[in-house]
């Protein structure tokens, strides 16, 4: 028994020595550093939208570095921010960066580092028998008109004008929106506020708003199902759900005047147009560029700039560095768009400001 214990403790100390910190060796395949993270158990909480991406990526990370386990609870952005503020989690996640008030509650504007981890783009899915995927064309005006309740029927002249050759029925439009507070709603209403003065002065933008028309369904899945069950319905759904469930989605007219069917590539293209995004200037809706998907937004992750526990802090920044570089590829299975390189660079610069006991925890070179 004693021998086993000794063997165990020796083994453990060898292990600890082996993973005792970050090394700066360069990984030839990616150009990035080979990071051997220290053993740690990390917990995060927040947004539901990036949860499938985080789960997939953190799983791969754990397979690679079994000493790091990450537990992410998709409890909603608001709850994630609150848990970070109360320091019950190591990182929080939100579809909208923390506001000035929230930052103040968490210890001031410089207490928290916020990085963008992935991109979401919103599709307008519809249920019109006989109108196939991408066939329905919507412009900023018609989208705002439908969701303001000004366009009530599918054969409205405003819709017909953009859709010559498509037989739109004389049928009432059933608008479906999210009933739960969500980042998807935020991105969509941010877009509507950007393209429509009526919307901006009317319902406005937010995770929950006072919808002029339509019915609410809880979660992307319920919105998607309600649309599928209701002929004549239209609603906004996260692209991933549209692709996974094979729904028909509209072509959207972007700022350059092109009709694009939202896609991961379109989201990345839109994000590229905004190289100077910061947590306080984060809106990337209605992007210029011919391929840009117009209703796009980043999803954010926050951690404290000064990490109390050095080992945990090191493991955390190593994990997040991996998430925004190599980890990006694991979003494609679940239809998450990759970050543009400018954003990765911003994120790395932000992560390098994270310290513990005065010394920086991430020692990788900043990508050029």
């Amino acid at each position: 028994m004693k021998r086993i214990l000794i063997a165990l403790s020796v083994g453990a100390s060898v292990l600890l020595a082996a993973c005792g910190g970050t090394t700066g060796a360069t990984n030839p395949s990616t150009g990035g550093p080979t990071v051997v993270p220290p053993a740690a158990s990390l917990t995060g909480a927040g947004a539901t939208f990036p949860a499938p991406f985080y789960s997939a990526a953190f799983y791969v990370y754990n397979q690679r570095y079994s000493q790091v386990t990450v537990n992410y609870q998709s409890v909603g952005s608001g709850a994630g921010i609150q848990q970070l503020t109360k320091k019950t989690v190591d990182f929080g996640a939100s579809d909208v960066p923390m506001s000035a008030t929230e930052l103040a509650a968490a210890g001031g504007p410089d207490a928290v580092v916020q990085i963008a981890t992935t991109l979401g783009t919103v599709s307008l899915a519809y249920n019109l028998p006989g109108v196939s995927n991408g066939q329905l064309k919507l412009t900023p005006d018609t989208i705002a008109g439908i969701f303001l309740g000004k366009i009530k029927k599918w054969n409205d002249p405003a819709l017909a004008a953009d859709n010559s050759g498509v037989s739109l029925p004389n049928q009432a439009i059933t608008v479906v929106h999210r009933s739960d507070g969500s980042g998807t709603s935020y991105i969509f209403t941010d877009y509507l506020s950007a393209v429509s003065a009526d919307w901006k002065s009317g319902p406005g933008k937010g995770k929950s708003i006072n919808w002029p028309v339509g019915q609410g369904a809880k979660g992307n899945e319920a919105v998607a199902t309600t649309i599928k069950q209701t002929p004549g319905a239209i609603g906004y759904v996260e692209l991933a759900y549209v692709l996974q469930t094979g729904m028909t989605q509209a072509s959207l007219k972007n700022k350059d005047g092109n009709f694009v069917v939202p896609s991961e590539a379109g989201a990345t293209a839109a994000a590229k147009e905004f190289p100077n995004v910061t947590p306080s200037q984060f809106s990337i809706v209605n992007a210029p560029g011919k391929d840009s998907a117009p209703i796009t937004g980043y999803s954010w992750l926050m951690l404290y700039k000064d990490e109390a526990d050095k080992t945990k802090g090191t493991a955390l920044v190593d994990l997040l560095y991996w998430l925004i570089t190599e980890g990006q590829q694991y979003g494609s299975n679940t239809h998450y768009a990759k970050l543009p390189s400018a954003m990765v660079k911003n994120d790395v610069i932000s992560l390098k400001t994270v310290t513990s006991g005065g010394s920086a925890l991430l020692t990788v070179p900043t990508p050029s």
Binding site: S77, S182, K207, N210, T225
Partner: protein, 328 residues
């Protein structure tokens, strides 16, 4: 002389209390203390519970005051909150649910309790009722979301419009999501409670009363109508109250079918909202004291409505029968 009781009985105030009696008295005191303590704990829990809702709700209570109860606006962007549509939706859907469930529930309970020829059927039927009671509400919600809403939209609602369309309740376009569907779901959810409790209450009606009625020449229906049901009325009211409590607080299944739209309409086809649904939908992403306070205040209102409904029903029963309803 043994420590008999005869002498002690004639002594008005016994100066010597036996050790056994003292133990008994002490035991009574301990028991009394425990019972009073338990009762106080219950009261404390209730008080703490209301307080725990009241304190976080304070920002909204001070900001909106009484207007919170009368305003129909629910606008998280401009931080304007009013609870009226959610209160309306909660009361309306519960009322629809009970209106549908009551006759079916009492009928089924009478059948199970009174029909002697049932024999083999009674066991499986009772089992089915208990099975229905055991289905989690989220499963009923899923079923309602996928099966009931299209059924309501394509069959039930058009039928009602066709036959009862002259009433304002059955006018307007039916999407399948709305007050009526939510009411039907609630009816399904409260049925097992109603049936099981009413059945037991009806069974508890003394056999001698039934026999007396039958002996006087009353038919079975007359016996049930004028002897069994009046006798069981108090207990049935208790069952209805319990069912109402469940209907008022039901969250997830209602959220899935009501359409989640804060509005007040006469049409039962229209989408609505209920107090628990608003809380469930918006709590995770509610940021700021005022917004969260408004949601807490909705919770407080829900608790108060439950209390008011209970008290009102109790007073009604007292008026009619002069006795309190059976607590179930």
């Amino acid at each position: 002389m043994s420590r008999g009781t005869a002498t002690e009985r004639v002594v008005p105030t016994p100066l010597v209390v036996s050790s056994r009696q003292r133990r008994l008295v002490a035991g009574d005191r301990v028991f009394e203390g425990l019972a009073v303590g338990a009762a106080i704990v219950i009261l404390l829990i209730a008080a703490v519970f209301v307080l725990a809702l009241f304190v976080p709700a304070l920002p909204a209570i001070t900001k909106f005051g009484f207007g919170f109860l009368t305003s129909s606006t629910w606008d998280p962007v401009r931080l304007q909150f009013g609870a009226l549509p959610a209160i309306y939706g909660t009361l309306l859907t519960s009322a629809i649910g009970l209106l549908i469930a009551f006759p079916i529930g009492i009928g089924a309970a009478l059948f199970l309790a009174e029909e002697a020829r049932l024999g083999l059927l009674r066991g499986p039927l009772s089992f089915a009722v208990e099975l229905l009671a055991g289905i989690p509400s989220v499963v009923i919600g899923l079923w309602a979301f996928f099966i009931l809403t299209p059924l309501m939209r394509d069959n039930v609602d058009p039928f009602l419009s066709h036959t009862l369309g002259f009433l304002p309740f059955f006018q307007g376009s039916a999407s399948g999501y709305g007050f009526l569907t939510a009411g039907v779901v609630l009816a399904i959810m409260v049925l097992p409670i109603l049936i099981a409790l009413s059945r037991d209450v009806i069974r508890a009606v003394p056999r001698s009363l039934r026999e007396a009625s039958l002996a006087l020449g009353a038919t079975k229906a007359e016996t049930v109508w004028s002897v069994v049901l009046p006798y069981a009325r108090v207990g049935i009211t208790g069952a209805v109250l319990l069912a109402l409590g469940r209907a008022l607080g039901e969250t997830i299944a209602v959220t899935m079918v009501i359409g989640n739209r804060p509005q007040i309409t006469a049409s039962l086809y229209a989408q609505g909202y209920t107090l628990p649904s608003v809380i469930a939908n918006e709590f995770t992403e509610a940021v700021g004291n005022l917004y969260q306070g408004a949601l807490f205040e909705l919770g407080l209102i829900l608790v108060l409505i439950t209390i008011i409904v209970n008290v009102a029903a109790r007073i009604l029963v007292w008026r009619f029968t002069g006795s309190a309803p059976v607590r179930v």
